[in-house]
Every structure is written in structure tokens, then in C-alpha cells.
Symmetry: C5
Subunit: 275 residues, 5 copies
């Protein structure tokens, strides 16, 4: 989550909650019973529907998906091109030195590359890892999405509980006036819990996962190309196909320098061989 | 969006909003608090659910998808047939001259063609580009669809907030009469924001994307056929399979001229070879 | 749509609308404002969500899908068997004579067959045509389905508009009594527009499209078999696999005659060769 | 549908409808107008959305899916093993005798086997038949599912019609008291028609179809194995993979006898060859 | 279900139900008629929609999915590595000894391995078993999910029944006061039955099934690698791709010992061969 997201969310939530607090009777909006019905109904569902380790996992994935995520496709392509050129100049074993490589998927890919697996095995190992990464993330997203669908139902249940309590003791008008707001507050809590918390978290996990899967796809393609000793200049073309047109132009300008160096190197080498 | 769409939307919105303004009490329909709840609830969800650059991207895609889009499948097929014939007459390198080619996907395809990649590599580069184009568009559509589902919930939340405010201060009848309309106005805002703005935008992105993907599919097929030096007359048959029966007839009549020229050229060449 | 459908729909709609007209106050059910909100809200959505040519196309597809559709799988199989036998007796070029062939897909298939494309090319051209036919139909269905989901929301919006107009002028009881029915009438219009018009049309497009796609699949299979010069007796077996068990029995009895003729011809030919 | 299903459904429906009949005012629950709105609204939708022959077909499929269905996977595997052994002992043509084979798919499979089609052709014919069987069933399920989603909407429409009729004649209290129950009865009819009739029928068609598709998959696998003259002992292993662990154990015990006989036969034959 | 799940569910249900019991009029929440409508409506749907043996099966699967499930992917990988090493040292037939193997899928896989099927056959047998295991589980999940969607509808139906009973006898105020709570209680029962019982059970079946399918995938991969006599050290790398990064590190540390032993064995063997 970038600073822009934080400020945007903060300001709009501020304006949103202002609509509560302008009412003179703003204390009505805080109601423990309603909160208990909605929160603990949803929590009970969570414990009944998902094994505990999946709930833990979902929470840590949710937290992680709100941390800023610095790695961009262009950066990964630059790293892969550097690796491809280094591999061409100094041999595949030179890739054992993983300085500057922070992504665990890329580290893994380099390990597999250096260990000398066949192309097919490399593809299977890395794509298995990638597809199970996606599966684990889908589990986490599913937890929040299911709970996000359940919360409004408990909001309504809380309202019904309140209304029943009121209607059963209908003789006293004062009870009615205390209960109807409580009943509606519960519905409100359910809607807010679902629409401002659980569903956005699920959606954010989806977004983050898609960004990471794009990186993994680029890395997989790049690692296989290094294995196949593909021409780095052609590799650039292939990897840039993963970018949007704007990003592609920026990236290609950015890579110009590296490519010049590499072409220089190729020429020197050619002369050395011929000389 | 064509002129027909603009006029149609404008007139029906005019008639639709007339149903508001005929009421003597039309000022009730403008309510700042309700607007704040619905708009900023939805905006907060957007900031909590999607990274900022995705929101930016979704907005620019939405704007773009309402700009008129002049390129038609028939036009692209005509261009591809011209390119195929030129390639036959003057060699593949003559395609470096990209005058009149405005679509970036076609430009890219010609680059790949001229650079001498193998057929498989061409297919992979171009289909990767196409599938990530679709993925980026799906992200944008998703933003509007998710927010379109969320807006009515905030409409209801706004109504509940209003009703609670009212019911908590139930002693004064005048407060009730001010609040109930405000409550219902919020629901109305949620419904309109969702059904007249967010969901149609999502739907329009889908329509536009499908049109562009059709063009990309035709281009991919055509570029590969040029690479394979397929007979342009057969290429026409293949590409016309992407059209509807009506478009196909119009297109085939349209291409008659070009084909005559080409057949003429083939004959001349044959005679030259035999002569 | 068959006569049975017309009568069934007519009678049940008659009974359905009788429930309106039995009320002494039946004039309440006709309300211009409610009609405007529901119709023009939905129309505005249509113009905002879909390009104009897609709306046109959807309407013409909808009309077409209610026209009676005479072609049955059995009939197509009979035609294909005749073509296969003729091709065996008189050569593939005899198929240029397309008398009695009304389906444009079959005409196209025969063109491709006579033009001497390879099997793979034939498969690609015809299956591309078939899959884009399905895509265009799905677009049309989508238009009606999306609008069918939107119409009830505008029905509710119309009710809310009416209620707000009423509640803002709550001092006069007479206004209330005029508005509440108007409000509910709008909801009713939305439900009827969606459930008796838009969604059935979408569903009917689906049904018709599936029937036509079945025919196209049978034709594709048959044309390829003719190309491969497959034995017509075996072709019959393969094509009959597309039919339901009842249809299959009827069809096989029906084809007995043709097969006898063909076997007769084979014998004569064999004797001629041997003689 | 087994006897257990019948009794279970009967008893729970009895208890369910008891909750209607305990009311002194039980006659309110029978309301012709509400019934007409819900039933004929749904029927009109059916006639507008689906071609008549599809409605007929859906009804007959629905009826069939409630008839008891005696064939079990184990039984089919036993038959296939017998056929495989007979084919090994007496040659493939001995399978022309189809005594005891009641399933039309198996009869068809044996026909194809005896007619001497190639393996690929057999696979195509039988899997085409199977996939179009599934498609036809999905059409029938779709009819009931779509109507099941429509019925509650007509229930609500009926309630709205009732309420409008009442509210338009609001001067007389007696009319109100007659109408509100009628209005709610319509909603109730819609819910019951959908949840106790249309949706369970759709679901039951799904269940039955899946059972039959499992059988067809086993038969397809078995027929192909007989064609390939696969060892019946290995065929048993492959077919038992379609069963649940419990069924598999029961089946394997059951097949012990047959296998003994077959092994006996093999030994005799071997001795005869060697002798 | 772990102890953490049990405690979590228990405590949150306690807090949730406390919101019922704090009301003085708590006896209103227990209502036999409402219970009968919701429970037996749902049960009738179950009997009408699913064959009896599928209901039985769904119940036993549901019960099983709440039993603790001790087997972890790491454990399975350890067992498979041991088996691979043993197979290398002592030959494939040594795997007939299945001591310590409790999972029926692994037992089956070893049977197939020892019986000497070809790689393709092994893959087909085991993946058929796995995919039909998933299908059976999906049937069970479907039962609970469909009923979970139906229960709230019967809750509403129960409320409508109650309201009709009340409104038909509207003359007596006492009847009204008895009925409205009863009506709402039914809605509450429907919501709770669905959201705290049926849907969580469906979700829990999904979670458990995914865990078991992961194990089956690992076993399938491992068994095939043993068949192919793949190097156990490489097998470890491949199987660890199924784990999350954290699990992978733990597992790899754990396997260090085994690998040392194996490498030791390889060296000894090599020396023996060379010596």
C-alpha cells in the first residue's frame, strides 16, 4: 500500500465517519451488544469453516499485502538481463553469486539453474512453486471473501435479535425506543465490517498476488532463456511483452545502456577470437 | 462511444431526471450528508482494496473506452492483405516502412516480423503481449465492478445512519420528517451511482477490450501468415472467418480490387520468369 | 419460437394480467412517471454500457431468435450424407452445386471444400467462424442479461423517488395516498420488465445459439469427413452420435433408404471395375 | 429416488405444512389470485425463454430423474470384466450377443466395438455421444434453475400487485385487511415453488446426470481396453480407480471369483499350447 | 479441526448467544413452529434434491472433515524420500512392505508401483482415483452449500407464514403481539442455520479436501519419480516446490540427515564397484 492509498483511505474514512458524528445523538452509534453479535458471529463462522493454521496464514498474508512492495516488473527484467549477460560472459556458474537478489522466487530459480537441472525439470519445479504460491494466496483471499459475505447476515441477525427483544416486551414504549436504534446499528456494523474491512482486504490480496505472479512469470521465462543460452537482446524483447506499452518504452530506453555495453563486449570478444 | 450513444444516453438521462424535478419538493433530492456517505464510503473501499496505480490506470482506461474507436476489423484485414502482398512483391524487409499503421500492436508485430524471429518466438511474443493486455484491462474492469457492487451497500448504510439519527431523537416529529427522506435519498444515490455510473463503465471496458482483442487476434494470424509466406488470397479467406456474415460480404466485395491487382502482378511476374 | 410457445406465452400472460385488471382500482397500475423511471433508466444504462452497434446487433439477434427455425440436426445429417455420397460418386467438385443448401455455414464449408484447402486449414477457417459466431451471440445475450439485472434496481429507485416525493410533502394526506401506489408500481414495472422481457430474451438467445452451434459442429465434422473421403456409412455412425437416443433411432431408420442406394451403387461400380 | 428419499420428503413436508394448518385462519393460505400470479408468471417466462421441445424434454428428464436407478458402477465394472474375458476367450465378435445389457450407452459401445472401428474413431464416437448427453441434461437443468430463480420475483410481484390494489382503495379498512394477507401469500407461494419444487428438481437432475456420466466414463474406458485387448486383470485395477475406497474393497472381493475362473482358463490354454 | 478451532468456535458462540440470553424475554427466542418450518423445509429440500446415499455420504464426509488430520505435506515428503532411497538400495520390490504407511492413496500407489504397471498406466490409475475423490467431495460440499442457500429462504417463508396467521386474525391485538416475534424468530433461525452451520461445514469440506488433494499430488509425483528411478536428491527439490517458503526451509533442514546417510551409501557402493 502506497502513501497515496493511506492518505486517500484516511481522508475518505474521516469524511465518512463525520456523517455519524454530526448527529447530536451520536452515542447511539456505539452499541456493545450489536458489536458482539456481528464480530463474534463472524469469528465463530471463521473458526467453524477454516482450520486454524489457515486463519493464521490468511491474517499474515493480509498484513503483508498492505506493506509497500518495491519490486517492479521493469526492475526484475533489468536484473534478468544483467544475469543473462553475466552468464554469457562468465558462464552459468557465475550466477551462484546472488548479491542484490532479494526475491525468494528468483533466488530459487538461480539455485535450480546452477544445480544443472534439465530445462523440463526447471520448468516443472518453478511452475509448481508458482502455482502453489497462487493456491495458498487463493485460500487466504477465500477466508476474507467468505467472512465478508457472512458479516452482513450477522448484521441482520443482530437487528432481528434486537427487534424480537423489543417486540416481546412491547408494553413499555421506552424499551422500544432503546431497541430499534440498537437493531439498526447491528445492520450498519455488518455492512461496514464487510464493505470497509473484509472485502477490501480480500480484494487487496488478489491485487498483490497478481503483481507477484507477474514477476514470477517473468522470472520463469528469463531463467529458462538463460538456461537455453538465448541471446540477451532477444530475451529483452520477449520479457518486454509482459509490460504495458508505456512501461515498455520507459524500460527499453532504460536498457539501452546495458545493451550497448553488451554489444561492445561481443565485439571485443569477436575480435579476440579472430585476432 | 459513438454520437448515437451520446445522444441516446443524454436523452434518456434527461427523461429519467425529469421524474425527480417534477416534484414540488425537488430540493429534498439534494442532500450533502447522503452524498458524503455514499461517495466517500465507496472511495474509501477503493483506496483500501486496490493499489493506487491500479486506480489511476482504471480511470484512464475508463476514459479511453469512451473515446470513439475508429479501427474496424475490415480495415485491419485490408491493411494486412496489403502488407502480405507488398511482402510478396518487395520482400519482408519492405515492411519496415510503417506509414499508415497507427495501432501499436500492429507496429510491434511488424517490428518482430522484420527482426527475423522464428515463427514460434513471434507467436509467443505477440500472444504474451495480447494476453497481458487483456489482464490489465480485466484489472480495470474489476475495479469498477467491485465498486459498483459496493456502492448500493453504502447507500443502505447511509439510510440506516439517517434512520438511527432520527429514531434516537424520536421525541420531536419535525426531526423525523427531515430524516426519513434523507435516509431514502442515500439509498437512491447508491443505486444510481452503481447502475448508471460504475457498472456501465465496467461493462463498457469489457466491450471495448473485446473489440481490441479481436483486432489483435486478426493481426497475430495475419503477421504469422506473412511470415509463413502464405498465399494472400488464402489469407483473405482465413481472416474473413473472424467477421460476421454481413461484414464478410462487404469486405470481400471491397477486397476484389486489391486481389485483381495482385493477380495481375502474379501473371506479369510469371510471364517475366517464363519469358 | 414455435406456435406452441406463442400460445403458451399468450395464455399465461393473459391469466397473469387478469390479476391486475380484476381490481376496481385498475387504473393505478398505469403510471407514466414510474414507466419513465424504469424504461429510461434501463435505456440510459444500455447507452452508457454498450456501443451502439452492439445494441443494434443485440436487438436483431433477439428478433431472429424468436423466428421459427426449421433446420433440424437430422436434416443436416441427411444433407451431409447425400453430399458425401455424391462426392464419392461424382468427385469433390460436384459439390459446387449448392442447390437446396440454405445454411450459410454449410455453404461456406462447401466453398472451402471445393477450393482445395488442406484439412488443417479447413478446420481452422470453419472453427474460427463458428467460435466468432458464438462470441457475437454471447455479446447479444450479455446485453439483455445485464439490462435484465439492472431493471429491478431502477424499479426500486423509482419507488424510492416516489416515496421521497411523498414524505417530503407529508403534511397532506392526499399526496401520500397518490404516491405510495405510484412508488410500488415502479417496483412492479422493474420486476416485470426484467423477468417477463429482458431475461427470457437473453435465455432464448442462449437456446437458439446452442441449437445453431450443434448444427455447425455436425457440419464441421461432416465436411472434414468428406475431405478425408471417409466411408459415408461410417460417417453416419459418427454424426448420429450428436443426436439423442430417440432422434438417433428415427434418423437411422430414415437413412436406411439412402444407404441401400449407395451400397447398390458401390456394388455396380465394383462389378464394372471387375468386369 | 429411493424409498428413503420418498419417506424423508413426505414426512418433512407433512411437518412443514402442519405449520400452516395449525392456524385457525388457515383458509387465508389458499388464494387463487396469488397462485395465478406466481404460477402463470413463471409459466409465461418458461414459454418466452425456452423453445417448446426443450420444455417438454426438461419435464421428461425431471420425471425420469426421480425414477429409481438400479445400475451401480460396481455392476457395470463386473459386466465389463465379463465382456473383456469373453472377448479374450471367444474373440471380439462374440460380443455381438448383448444379453443382459440394458444401458443404451453400453449397447452402443458394443456395436461400435463389433463394427471394427479404429480406437480413435471409437473414442470420438462414444465421447461425442457422452458429451452431448451431458449437454442435453444441462439444458434441462437450466430450465428448472432459471425458473427457480424467477418464481420468487413473481411472488414479490404478486405481493406488490396486492398491496397496490389495497392502497389505491385505502378508504375502506376492510379492503386492507383482505389484501395484506393475500399480498404476503403470494411471496410465500413464490418461495415454496422455487425452494421446494423447481430448484430441487434442477439439483436432482444434476445428481442423476453425474451418476450416469460416471457409468459412461467407466464404459468408455472399458470398451477401449477390450479393443486394445488389455489384460482383464489390469483392466479391473483401472476401472476400480473410479470407485470410492469402500466400494473398491467390496468390488474387489466380489471380482475374486471371476478372476480365479479367468486365471484357470489362461492356465488351461497355456498348457494346451505347450502340450 | 484442531483444539484452537474448537476453543475459538466455542468462546465466540458463547459470546454470540449471550446476546440472546441477556433479554428478560429470552423465552421468545425458543419457538417450536419456527424451528419446524426452517428445519423441515430444509430437510424436505434435501430429500427432494439429492439421492439418499449422497446425503449419507455428505454427512459422513462432514463429520470426517472435523476430525483432526495429522498428516502434513512435510511428513509425506519424508516418507516418499525414504521410499525412494530404499527402492534405490534394495530394489522396487522392497516397497511391498508398507509398514508405517497409513494413507490409503499412498498404499494404493505402492501397490501399483510394485505390480509393475507402465508409467502412463500408473499416472492414469492414480490421477483417476484422485480426480474421482475430488468429485465425490465436491458432491458433499454441494449438498451443504445448496442447503445453506435454501435455509434463509425458509426462514423468510416461516416469517411470512407467521405474519399471515397474525394479519388474518387482526381483530385481536394479543394475537399480533404473539405472532410478530414468532415471525422474526423464524428469519433468525434461517440465518443462523445457514451461516453458523451449513455454509461453514461446506467451507470446511473444501479446506480439508484441498489439503488431501495436495498430499495426493505430492504422492503421485513421488511415486512416478520412484518408478523413473529419479535421483532422490533431485526428487527432494521437486517435492519441496509444493511447500510454502517457510515449510520448505524447515523441511530441508529436516531432510539433511537422511540425505547424508544416502550420500554415504552411494559412496560406499561406488567404492565397492570400483574396488
Amino acid at each position: 500500500m502506497t502513501r497515496a492509498n493511506l492518505w486517500g483511505a484516511f481522508l475518505s474514512l474521516l469524511l465518512f465517519s463525520a456523517t455519524f458524528l454530526v448527529w447530536e445523538t451520536r452515542f447511539v452509534f456505539f452499541n456493545i451488544t450489536a458489536l458482539v453479535v456481528v464480530i463474534f458471529g463472524t469469528v465463530a463462522t471463521a473458526f467453524l469453516a477454516f482450520p486454524f493454521h489457515q486463519l493464521q496464514n490468511a491474517c499474515s498474508v493480509a498484513l503483508n499485502s498492505y506493506r509497500p512492495f518495491g519490486v517492479k516488473p521493469q526492475g526484475i527484467i533489468a536484473i534478468l538481463l544483467d544475469l543473462a549477460m553475466r552468464s554469457r560472459r562468465e558462464g552459468i556458474l557465475s550466477l551462484q553469486d546472488k548479491t542484490g537478489v532479494t526475491l525468494s522466487f528468483l533466488q530459487n530459480g538461480l539455485d535450480v539453474l546452477v544445480d544443472g537441472y534439465s530445462e523440463n525439470e526447471m520448468y516443472e519445479i518453478l511452475s509448481t512453486e508458482s502455482s502453489f504460491f497462487r493456491l495458498r494466496r487463493q485460500h487466504s483471499e477465500r477466508v476474507f471473501r467468505i467472512l465478508g459475505k457472512t458479516a452482513p447476515a450477522f448484521g441482520v441477525a443482530g437487528s432481528v435479535i434486537g427487534l424480537i427483544g423489543m417486540l416481546a416486551g412491547i408494553q413499555e414504549a421506552s424499551v422500544i425506543f432503546q431497541t430499534i436504534p440498537m437493531a439498526l446499528v447491528s445492520t450498519l456494523y455488518g455492512l461496514i465490517l464487510s464493505n470497509l474491512f473484509l472485502l477490501p482486504v480480500a480484494e487487496n490480496i488478489v491485487s498483490r498476488t497478481q503483481e507477484e505472479l507477474l514477476l514470477q512469470k517473468i522470472i520463469l521465462e528469463g531463467i529458462l532463456a538463460i538456461k537455453k543460452e538465448q541471446n540477451p537482446l532477444r530475451l529483452e524483447k520477449r520479457l518486454c511483452a509482459f509490460l504495458s506499452p508505456q512501461e515498455r518504452q520507459a524500460a527499453q530506453a532504460d536498457f539501452q545502456d546495458r545493451k550497448q555495453h553488451y554489444i561492445q563486449f561481443l565485439r571485443t570478444q569477436k575480435e579476440a577470437t579472430q585476432g
